[in-house]
Structures are given as C-alpha cells and as structure tokens.
Symmetry: C2
Subunit: 415 residues, 2 copies
C-alpha cells in the first residue's frame, strides 16, 4: 500500500512550529506578520526542494504544483492555511498544507501519471487578521469591495499589509480562479472538537460546514437608583439578558444539537455598582450545518428575546451582522475520502464542521470534501492544541489516497 | 400654628435651581465646580440677609447659625447638601438645606428663645465628586487618610479642588466637631422612591439608613471555540452569572424585601462573538437597613455564587469592596419628627432609607433623625426629579416643628 513519507511530514510540522513559536509552545503566525512572511518563505523553499512548481497568486495564496502530462487538464486542489491565531496551536491549518505538500511529493516521487494537475495550496489569512478566509474568498471570486470595507484592517492598514506580501488591492481580484479549470478540492484539518476522540474513530468525514449567524441584541429598560427603586418596580436590562441566555441555552441543547449558540460579550449601561442597568447589549452567535434548522433556530432565539423583554418590562432590538450560510460537502468527494480511509483500514464517521474553513469558499465553485483527524481533548486556538503523530500520518495517507481515488488512479499504482 | 414662610422657601428653591441649571431643566452642581462655588456664594448671601451668622469649616461645610442666649449651649443641627450629581434634580439635598435655613429664619423672626444654638448646615460633596458624604464624614471625625487615598480625585486633583474652596488637605481635619457640643441632627430629604406616594402618606420617618455592601464577583471557566466545543462540555463563565443573577433576584425579593440587590456591570473575557467566555466579572451590590439581615443576605448571596459555579463547572471568587454599615436613627428624635407631623395634621409612616445620606455620618456622633417627603414617581438623580410645592412646604413646617419639639419649646410660642 502506497503511503506518504511519515518522517518527512512530521519533520516539516516540527520545523514549521519553530516559525512564530511562542513561549507557551504554540505559534503566533498572524497573517501579514513577520512570522507569516517567514513561514511563507520557508514553504516556498520546501516546495522547490520537493521538485514542485511554486506559485503565488494575487491574493498571496501560495501553491505547490505538480503538473499533469496534459497541459489542458483540470486542477485537483488540496490545502489549508499557514497563518494562525495569536498564540494559537501548531496544527490548525498547518496540518492541511503540509499533508497536501507531502501527498504531491509522494505522487511525484512514485511517478504516478495523473489526469489532473495537482495543486497544494496555502490560503492567505484564514484566521481573519483582515478578513476570515480572506485568500479562499478571493480565490473563489466571492471577495467584494463590501468585504474590504468591513475588514478588520482599515484601507491604509490593508494596503500596508498587502504591500508586505508584494500585493495590491487591485491584485486581489486577479486571484479569482475559473471554476471550469478545477476538478475538486480536498482539505484535511484537525477536528478542534472531541467527537472523534470520544467515539474512538480515526477519520471524520465532514458533511457540511456550519452556517454562522450573529446579532447584536439590545435590551432597553430604565436606569434607576440601586437603593431606592424597589426591585419589583425595576426595568433592569440585565434581567432580560439573564432570562434570554438561560432559556436559549436550554432550548438550543434540547432542540438543535449539534448546533450551538454563544454569547461571548455583554455590556451594561450606565455600568455602575449603584445604578440599575438601563441598557444591555449582548453578542449572540449561533451555528448549524442545516440551512432549515439554522432558520428555525434564528426564529426560536428571536422569540426568546421578545419573551425576555416582555417578561421584564423591556424594549429590545436585534441587529443582524454579517453571517455565512451552511455549505454542504460534495457526495462523490465524501465517498472518495471514505474509500481512502477504508483502503487504509481506518475507521470513519460523518459529522458536520462547527467551525468555518477555506473549504467553505471552495465548495461554492468546485466539488469539495473535508475531513478531520482527532484533536486531543478538542483543544484548539491554544498553545496546548495537539494531534498525535499517528493521526498526523493518517491525515497524510488519507489525503494521498483521496487524491488517487478522485483521480481514479488504477490500483496497480498504489496497492 | 406657627409655620414657615412658604413663599420665601419656594422662591429660594426656584432661585437655587437657576445655579448650574441644565438644558433639561435639572441642575449640575457637582462639588468643587463653578456652579458649586456660585451656589455657595448665593447661600452665604441668603444667610447674611436672613440675619443669621455665616460660618465655613475646614471641610467647606457652610452653616447659618442662630445663637442661643447662653454661649455654653449645645448646638442643634439641621441640614443636607447643596451639591448635585451631574444633570441631577432640583430637590435632592437642596430641599434639606433651604428648609433648615427657612426654619432658623422663622424662629429668629418670631424671637423664640431657644435652649440650643441652631445651625443650618450644607455639607460638602455629599454626592461624591471626590468622596460620598465627604463633608459630613469630616464633620463627624470619620474621614481618614485611607479615605482620601481611595477618593475619586487623586492627590493633585483633590488639592486643586480644595484650593477652589479656600481649603487645604490639612484643614479637612479641623472640621471635626466635638460631639459633646451637639444636641442632635435632623435632615429632611426627598424620598427618591415612591413608597410615600403609593401609600398616600405625607411624611416618611426614617428608621435606619441602609447598610451597603459590594463585591466584585468573578467566575472562571474555560475560553473555547464557540463552534467546535459542544455546549454540554462548555465551562461558560456567563452561565455562572446567569444562574446567579436569576436566583439571587428571586431570593432577595422573597426573603429580604425591602432590602435590594443590584448587578450594574458585567465584563466577559476574552469578549468576542466566537469565543465561549472563560471569565466573567460581575459588580454585586446589596443593601439592607438591618445589620443581621444584611449579614444573612450576604451569606445567602455568596452561597448562590458557589452554587452557580458548581452547577456550571466553574471556579469563583468574591472580592469584598468598601461598604457601609446600617445606621439606626435615634428613637427620641424619630418621635420628635412624628410629634411635629401630628401637630401639623400630617400623616406619617416609618420606613428605612435605601439610599445613603449625610445623616448616616451624623448618627455616629449625635442623636439623629431623618424624614422624607414624597418624590413624584420616585424619580431622582434625574432632571425630572419633582416634589410638589405642598410637600416642600410640609418639609419646611415639619422640620421647624421638629426643632421646636426637640428643644421642648413651650406651646405658647408655636400654637
């Protein structure tokens, strides 16, 4: 059975983890940072030393290319991202890029004839230093001027950031790839959860990437003296928050699991020990991989807001913020991942991804699959993020065989 | 029946309301501000025109004095404060000072012989631009260097503020009055609540001024990815807050009314839409006029913190902040207020004060009474604060007759 070079993959993961390494043993490779630039330069050297073509597009997405004999062939893509959150982990994103590089290198070394160009890609700024999944949005043609206007970097900061990568605001739109030239996309990633670990399953085949919606919910009551205003006469905005969060939590767990909700930020005004809060603002985010359940969830949550306001004598409003719809993965591509896992004797299960990924962008333009390997204790975006070596190796091998399966490479080449 | 000059009292309230008047019809006479200085100068003129002696002590407390024939007599005090919160109301504090001035002026005009020196006093900075009840703390000898160190103004700002009033840090401690020279203190104030209005009672005789305790309560959970961390595995610090606030609210209303609690400020960390909050900090304040019930309340609230932490897999801590104990009013002085109300045919009831007042400081050194007149809709610290003219006049008359009652002035002088 054809397998990747496991030592080489582990060594590259190790080497990459030194770039932007933090005191706590994690990595900080925020997009456009010095560490990001260093990581990019390192990747280019690795690609070239592996005998693959290196390419950078207008959005700074970096690729290793193994061309097919036929110049007119379509491209089968695989990859992830090299950037990290601040003080994040060593595996998030890095695993997918290095497995992709390793798979291409293995195929090249074996001289397996491929009907597609193979491209191992690292997308720019998946973690959103400027815009979440920035590079893959540009690649899939989904990046618009409106996105740039709402970015976390202002116009001047964005120009400076792009300039560091040798890019410009105009070049971003050149990154768009014609879907007709693409044969599909596969991404491997750590799970960042613990379902695989709990079920003791090797490979998680993603059915869909969650849709995410968020609202800024405001409750309006009446600021009052915290001594002289009797409690039964108060219109305390915090009480709206408390009732809403308590009921929403129960409801989501009972009716919408594995969908989730979170309230990660609250602000009370005037905001003093001795003043009953007259206004409360709450950050509400909720996720589901099913579009219809996401809609149901939204309605049920907004109903609970209304109820919490009414029961506490408050006014309320919910300001919708930018969201992303659920993205279903492609059935044939999912089957290819499952076929690859079975070839390798690995157990697998289907599950939704509760986190967003570059695969969401790609799923809009080409048949896309994504699969997970276990994260110890589900820890992620954290220096303690860890995936065992055997799972890293499984990730590389399943990715390799998924590419071979999609390309329908005859058994003789890989058995 | 002897009564005050109602027109003069209403005219003075009207005149004082022009000093620091705000667009919304309230007043901003923050202590040490230009408006405060203007109010002080106006008060001095009114005192002198009324034929009373004017005095300023080392803490800037301003007094009108009507001396007794016997220079060795003790002093019967009455007063409140002329400063206001920013954009506050026209009655809070001002009513008590102007009723005191009016009562002394009436007694002087009638030539009633008094066994005590009478002193109508306006205490500096009751509202706490620097320190809440600053002037009355200094007067009662309760102001220490530790209070100055914890003040809202730093050392340089405090020096500058004191200098504006012709005072110094050293002079503050000269304001301390020997309790042996005092016969008692009476303060009239607007209720800042709506119990009198609801019960349709003219005069509220304060039994005690609430004790106030506050804590900074912290719940510690685990920050986590708001998508991939299943809800049943989260240790969400907000859930501790939600359970605590919901249960504490019910408990306080059921077991501790008229005691109250408030959570006026909350902060979640890291504080992002897509991160489960790992830490929550909550401002908790609670009040009761009974020391034993305040202790019970504290224990019950801290028990609920512990329960909320345990039920949600959190750690917790409660950092106690500076508080004030309940202050009981003096039985004889309360009886004097009730006797005065009855002379005037006014209805009265006993109630605790849920707000702090200068009377708290005075109660530590001399027999003290406090009484309330109704506030329309209980609104206070607000430009819409309003007390009807008839209640203002009742305030003045009850104060006048309380002084006469305490001094045991024979019926012939006032009937």
């Amino acid at each position: 059975m054809l397998t990747i070079n496991a030592e080489r993959l582990l060594a590259r993961l190790q080497a990459l983890a030194q770039i932007g390494r933090t005191q706590e043993g994690g990595v900080s490779r925020r997009a456009f940072s010095d560490a990001d630039l260093e990581g990019r330069a390192w990747f280019q050297r690795e690609v070239e030393e592996a005998g693959l073509l290196f390419r950078k597009d207008g959005a700074g997405n970096l690729s290793a290319i193994l061309p097919a004999a036929d110049p007119q062939a379509r491209t089968l893509l695989t990859g992830s991202h090299l950037d990290s959150v601040p003080n994040g982990g060593r595996y998030d994103g890095a695993l997918g890029v290095l497995c992709a590089l390793e798979a291409l290198q293995t195929i090249r070394e074996k001289g397996i004839p491929m009907p597609y160009h193979l491209e191992a890609i690292s997308f720019t700024d998946e973690e959103g230093a400027c815009i979440g999944t920035f590079g893959s949005l540009a690649f899939s043609g989904a990046l618009g001027e409106a996105d740039l206007a709402r970015a976390r970097l202002d116009a001047a900061e964005l120009s400076a950031a792009l300039q560091r990568l040798g890019l410009s605001r105009e070049s971003l739109f050149d990154a768009r790839r014609d879907p007709a030239t693409l044969a599909g996309y596969v991404e491997v990633h750590i799970e960042q959860g613990s379902r695989l670990e709990e079920e003791q399953v090797d490979i998680g085949v993603v059915t869909a990437i969650v849709g995410i919606r968020s609202y800024r919910v405001r409750f309006f009551g009446e600021a009052a003296h915290a001594g002289t205003k009797p409690m039964h006469k108060r219109r305390d905005a915090l009480w709206g928050v408390v009732q809403f969060v308590a009921r929403a939590r129960e409801m989501v767990m009972q009716r919408f699991t594995p969908g989730v909700m979170n309230c990660g930020w609250v602000e009370l005004a005037p905001g003093s020990f001795n003043i009953v809060p007259g206004r409360a603002t709450l950050a509400l985010e909720f996720r589901h991989s099913s579009q219809s359940l996401l809609n149901e969830m939204q309605q049920a949550l907004l109903d609970l807001c209304a109820q919490a306001a009414e029961d506490n004598g408050l006014q309320w409003e919910a300001e919708p913020l930018a969201g992303t719809p659920p993205a279903a993965m492609h059935a044939d591509m999912m089957a290819a991942v499952e076929g690859a896992a079975e070839r390798l004797g690995l157990s697998h299960m289907r599950l939704p991804s509760l986190a967003g990924h570059d695969a969401r962008s790609l799923s809009q333009i080409t048949p896309t699959a994504m699969f997970f390997v276990p994260s110890v204790d589900g820890i992620s975006h954290n220096p303690r993020e860890y995936t065992r070596d055997e799972d890293v190796i499984n990730a590389g091998n399943v990715l390799l065989h998924t590419l071979l399966e999609v390309a329908q490479v005859p058994r003789v080449w890989w058995e």
